[in-house]
């Protein structure tokens, strides 16, 4: 197994875990964390791709690295915004859940 494959598998596991977390966790904070996991998996995938570009004789493809850095900034802002919103929700309601009214029964 090459390191690239190993990293790729790791990234797949992270993406899967992130999606699972986002799907099943009712707590918004945990969803935010799960999304970060999902994001990390994606960034790792970019890393694998940059590494693969190295086959051309270079030390590594710089473009995916630039993308990862941009992506991290974006993910950081997203997390900050989401957590800020969650804090406001907590201040206003004292709860940290997002209950949606359950569907009404057919009358």
């Amino acid at each position: 197994m090459t390191p690239a494959t190993l990293y790729g598998l790791c990234s797949a596991v992270l993406v899967g875990a992130g999606l699972y977390g986002a799907l099943v966790n009712p707590q918004p904070l945990r969803k935010i964390l799960a999304l970060n996991l999902l994001g990390s998996g994606t960034f790792l995938l970019f890393g694998v791709i940059a590494r693969r570009g190295a086959a051309a004789g270079l030390g590594g493809d710089p473009v995916p690295q630039a993308m990862v850095i941009t992506g991290i900034v974006v993910a950081f802002s997203a997390t900050a915004l989401a957590v800020a919103l969650l804090l406001r929700v907590y201040q206003e309601t004292g709860r940290t859940t997002l209950e949606q009214p359950a569907p009404k029964d057919v009358v």
Binding site: L23, P26, K104, V106
Partner: protein, 544 residues
């Protein structure tokens, strides 16, 4: 040219003037003026054509003899109804809004006779259909809003059918869609070779059938004519409904012999013609009776179209226009009479009932009236076969229904304040009553090149007289039984079916609401997101 432009522009300019609060409340006095250019166009420019500047949708307006006839009588009715409305709405706080809807409906109603290309036809047809909604909901009846919704639902349904038909027509007629001001003439000519001919014909008959009130799409007609203010009901029942007639006239490929489609249309038409009489005689409100008579008469027109579709007839357009013109004047006039009757006090018999009898029985073909000429005109089209027999029977049925109407008109209770009778109400009614006889005669002699000798020959007179006599006698005989006839709720059996359909629709909607609620749960939504990406990937992979 100038007349055609003025027919559209004058009412629109008046509508624009309604932006001013002061003018809006005075506008109801001037409604009759709005239709004058239409009459002028029909009289002085019956063959004119006008292209609008290309930056405005490339509309083309043009008239030919049949459409000029329809335009002229429709304008005449709008003028008379406008005079009537000025008096009728004198103290009505809603007159400002009614005037606005009136002008919009009028523009569409007159414009649709002149539209020569697909886009402007659809535009003006929608205008007359949808603006009428405003007139209907201004009625005083308690259920005016509900009636308005039923009307608009059917009107939009009809338009949906037509839009579909026009889109398909446009494709047969040009390579680039309905743009480029495609003329109706060219589009219909291409129908001969269109692969979708049957679908287009079905959509056209359905779409215009809604406007003409063909059974079972007639539900809107009785309730709207019961609800709308009297002068508006007059204009709608006489003039606006003819948008359906001009539609069939323009869009049916009358040059092709399509016997199957002809038989379908004739059968549908006669079903309407007789069904409406059957329900109509059970009605007590004279307005409802008139509405059912309209359904019946539009059925006859559809039947005549059907015969023409089966066996091409060069004069068909003219004949139908002539028949429809007579109906325009009579039906519009009779509605004005219904408004007048309770106000006319002791003069009701001579002022209202006698002219109404001449007009009403004229619809059945009473000799010497315009109706007799109209029946004479359609006779050769219906022929001597089953259609001809049904045609005679429909005259008889019409006589029955109109006699019933006269009884109901006579039985209308007196208004509380009969002195409210305004001179304008009276003379616009008498003018339209006179026109319903004079105009058909003038058209018969000058346009239809009919002969007086033939029209007045004993054979013709007898042929048109006996159905009237039999029908009227039947109605008189039926009168004592009137109270025992079954009552049909709100004018129609179809309403009962509609109520059931509405219940089913309500349940479906509730189920969809539940589905929406379920899909909007977070885990379901995330799962759908993953499912969509999986399905998309699978669909792309499978193809390779």
């Amino acid at each position: 040219m100038i007349w055609l432009a003025a027919t559209l522009l004058l009412p629109l300019a008046m509508l624009f003037a309604c932006l001013s609060q002061t003018l809006r409340y005075r506008m109801s006095n001037w409604l009759s003026v709005a239709a004058v250019p239409g009459l002028g166009a029909a009289l002085f420019a019956p063959e004119a054509s006008l292209d609008l500047p290309p930056f405005l949708l490339r509309l083309r307006l043009s008239l030919d003899l049949p459409s000029a006839i329809l335009l002229g009588v429709a304008a005449l009715l709008w003028i008379a109804a406008g005079v009537y409305a000025a008096a009728w709405l004198r103290d009505d706080p809603r007159r400002g809004r009614i005037a606005e809807w009136w002008l919009l409906t009028l523009t569409g109603s007159l414009g649709v006779f002149m539209a020569a290309d697909l886009v402007s036809f659809y535009l003006l047809f929608s205008m007359v259909s949808l603006a009428a909604y405003g007139l209907i909901i201004e009625g005083r009846a308690a259920d005016a809003q509900k009636v308005g919704l039923i009307y608009v639902a059917l009107a939009v349904f009809g338009e949906a059918l037509l839009l579909m038909a026009f889109v398909m027509l446009a494709q047969s007629g040009s390579a680039s869609g309905p743009g480029d001001g495609l003329l109706i003439r060219d589009a219909v000519a291409a129908l001969a070779v269109s692969p979708w001919r049957n679908a287009i014909l079905a959509l056209i008959i359905g779409g215009f059938g809604v406007k003409l009130g063909m059974v079972p799409f007639h539900v809107w007609m009785p309730i709207t004519y019961r609800t709308a203010p009297i002068p508006a009901a007059a204009a709608l029942s006489g003039a606006a409904v003819k948008a359906g007639a001009i539609g069939l006239l323009r869009f049916l490929p009358l040059g092709l012999a399509l016997p199957d489609w002809g038989n379908v249309l004739t059968t549908l038409g006669f079903i309407s013609a007789f069904y409406a009489v059957l329900i109509g005689v059970t009605q007590t409100n004279p307005r409802m009776v008139l509405a059912f008579s309209s359904i019946s008469q539009m059925g006859v027109i559809a039947a005549v179209f059907g015969m023409g579709l089966g066996a091409p007839n060069a004069d068909l357009a003219l004949i139908v226009a002539f028949y429809a013109a007579h109906h325009t004047l009579v039906k519009g006039g009779l509605f004005l009479g219904v408004g007048l009757a309770p106000l006319s006090g002791p003069r009701r018999t001579w002022l209202v009932l006698v002219p109404a009898a001449i007009m009403g029985l004229g619809l059945a073909g009473l000799p010497l009236t315009g109706g007799a000429l109209a029946k004479l005109a359609i006779k050769p089209v219906l022929g001597d076969g089953w259609a001809g027999t049904l045609g005679i029977l429909s005259s008889l049925a019409t006589a029955l229904l109109m006699t019933h109407f006269l009884f109901r008109l006579a039985a209308l209770p007196e208004a509380v304040a009969p002195n409210a009778l305004h001179g304008r109400l009276r003379w616009s009614w008498l003018m339209i009553a006179a026109a319903s006889v004079v105009v058909p005669w003038a058209l018969y002699l000058m346009v239809m090149s009919g002969s007086v000798a033939y029209a007045l020959s004993p054979a013709s007179l007898w042929a048109s007289l006996w159905p009237v006599v039999v029908g009227a006698t039947l109605a008189a005989g039926l009168r004592p039984w009137g109270s025992r006839l079954p009552r049909v709720p709100d004018g129609d059996i179809v309403m009962l079916v509609a109520a059931r359909v509405a219940r089913v629709a309500g349940r479906t909607a509730a189920a969809l609401e539940w589905l929406d609620g379920a899909l909007r749960q977070w885990p379901v939504a995330v799962l759908s997101l993953l499912a969509i990406s999986a399905i998309l990937a699978a669909l792309m992979l499978v193809r390779v």
